[in-house]
Symmetry: C2
Subunit: 106 residues, 2 copies
DNA sequence: GCATTATGCAACCTGAGGGTTGCATATGTC
DNA sequence: GACATATGCAACCCTCAGGTTGCATAATGC
């Protein structure tokens, strides 16, 4: 499976998006912390974090008996790349950006 | 299911992304045209186009015995909205854009 | 040492997504 | 009208993602 392919899959799940959002909001959270409030068992959360780790969106480090998680958003760029050609359908700022870049390189 | 939720699901499938790409490249294609080259039956393609239509990404119109399809990319904005807060991880142009907008409104 | 906490591991269950086949129906062409 | 073309519809199949439960193991606190 191509890399970007797997990233799309990973991000398609709402639970995993929540996990990413939480880690963006506060890095270094443990499995237990991340599982709080989610409507599923801790083991299920582990699986979700594993898929996120597999595609490089989450890094894991050990601290004593805890497993701490950090976000690495860079793989999301693949999604952005796919999305960009469609963006003119809604994003009028793109025009502003394009103009701006042209101003930089006359 | 919230709307953006369904859009994520729709876009997660590689076949459906190909269909969207094709329609962006050339609007108004029929079912038969869109099915060409895809490793599956025409009926399977119909199902994919139906899911895309359900989330508003594809519009369908009838022309004689043909069913023609058009892209409506606007629902993708929901994905972009989710993605944006992560973008600073890779997109250094964002900074340029921000600066530019501030210049506009001093 | 012992209880508690945080996590790992494995087997199992289930629904639905993505695919198929077979046949029906409408439109176009000659 | 007869034949070909483009699509619709329905039943069926199978894999696997996402969840569960049960138990094992490693750190920590007292």
């Amino acid at each position: 499976m191509r890399a970007v392919e797997a990233v799309f899959d990973a991000v398609a799940d709402p639970t995993r998006r929540v996990l990413l959002d939480r880690l963006r909001d506060r890095p270094g959270q443990s499995l237990g912390e991340l599982a709080v409030g989610l409507p599923m068992s801790r083991q299920a959360v582990t699986k979700h974090l594993d898929t996120l780790r597999r595609v490089g969106l989450v890094r894991v480090r050990r601290a004593g008996r805890e497993r701490l998680h950090d976000l690495d958003a860079r793989p999301l760029e693949g999604i952005d790349d796919w999305l960009r050609p469609y963006a003119e359908a809604w994003d009028r700022r793109l025009e502003a950006l394009r103009t701006h870049l042209e101003e930089d390189r006359p």
